[in-house]
Point group: C2
Chain length 241, copies 2
């Protein structure tokens, strides 16, 4: 039975980390909220969230349905999918390590979002521009270099070599790091170029993932939603310093 992914159909957002894993594995899946059209799809997703029969109701999209199993929270979805899609080692310590990296990627993603919405998600960016400028400066100058430096260290110390974050094979954490770098390159192109100059292993991993056949085909397809100003990664030139 096909996996069913439920996520907002107009943005990459957090759902994209799941889409990339499914695409790389060539998995059979339906992006429910995009089928047959966005409006109908969103209604289907919202109805699912309100139904009272679910023992494991998701708090928010994205969530995955695999037969009777429903899993929410991006990192938990990848924890569930990883072994099924061959995107994580079956060694327990490596599994936990992969997940730890994923959680740190999730932290950067949340911080990237907060650069344009520091005061509140319910407000427009236009209502929090001075605060966003202050927060983005800290993010550019301190947080991006610190996080990328940590990923670079991990690659350096991988006994199997710097091609992957964990072991000698691709994991969902590699795909997620690709997506993080891709998002930051859209939102903060100037800051990211400076940071990547000190993290050549991260830059190489990003480039290598983009050239994997299934990922390349996905990125070139209409299934890949372009970055835009509704998602987590938004390009406001004034926030890029």
């Amino acid at each position: 039975m096909a996996y069913e992914l439920y996520y907002w159909p107009m943005i990459q957002g957090r759902g994209e980390f799941v889409r990339l894993a499914l695409e790389e594995a060539g998995a059979d899946y339906v992006d429910v909220a995009r089928a047959p059209d966005n409006e109908t799809g969103i209604r289907t997703m919202m109805r699912f969230m309100k139904e009272e029969g679910h023992r494991h109701p998701p708090f928010a999209p994205p969530f995955l349905k695999d037969g009777a199993v429903v899993v929410g929270q991006t990192a938990a979805i990848l924890l569930y999918l990883g072994p099924r899609l061959g995107l994580v080692s079956d060694d327990e310590a490596e599994t936990v390590w992969t997940h730890q990296i994923q959680l740190s990627i999730a932290d950067v993603v949340a911080e990237a979002h907060d650069t344009h919405h520091p005061v509140g998600v319910g407000l427009y960016y236009e209502d929090q521009k001075p605060e966003a400028a202050r927060r983005a400066e800290d993010f550019r100058k301190n947080r991006i270099p610190k996080f990328l430096g940590w990923f670079e260290t991990i690659l350096d110390r991988n006994p199997s070599g710097p091609s992957h974050l964990v072991g000698q094979s691709l994991t969902y954490a590699d795909l997620s790091l690709f997506q993080l770098v891709d998002g930051l390159s859209y939102a903060f192109p100037k800051a990211l170029i400076r940071a990547l100059a000190k993290a050549p292993g991260v830059a190489a991993l990003h480039a290598a993932v983009a050239e994997r056949p299934r990922i390349r085909a996905y990125l070139d397809s209409p299934r890949r939603i372009p970055f835009n100003q509704e998602g987590i990664f938004r390009h406001y030139p004034e926030l890029d310093g």
Copy 2:
């Protein structure tokens, strides 16, 4: 060999979720940064983080050392400890569900932190008071009720009854929900009382966890660091509305 927990010794913070799991299980552990005294302990922790030999360097505290295994990220530590401490089911779907709940608790914790530091972690609260007031209002009025409502729904729908979030036994998610409620009751006492009135199951779970013998003994011991204005949960009366 005793588990070694590394975390800031002067706050509950994210380390507290791990401490509670270790305490409930009666596990043998050392709170490294508090021994033999805070200053020496912090130096030990910082030295560990800078050492170059670690294959799995933690990005930040808390992290756990179990022999040769090092695990960072609160939720990943609990993922690792859960089966070892008997604080999660051995059924895979229940394991992932428990973890999903933990990740949502982590989201609330991050949002609680951001109420007093919306613009930047590197700034003082005094330098972002107006922004904090705006963010805290949204947190009190919308986010706390929404999150507590979700936890209440989960308790309601647990086929084994509303005593626990998952199944019929205590999991680390129950301990973490206790800690979340405890922290919110310190930081936002007025808002929390209003929210708990609509989430009686959550209130009951919080009370029941506090009366578990090992947790009660821990809370009454000097090992439990009091809430204070350096931690994640801070009580600024002006933010409690």
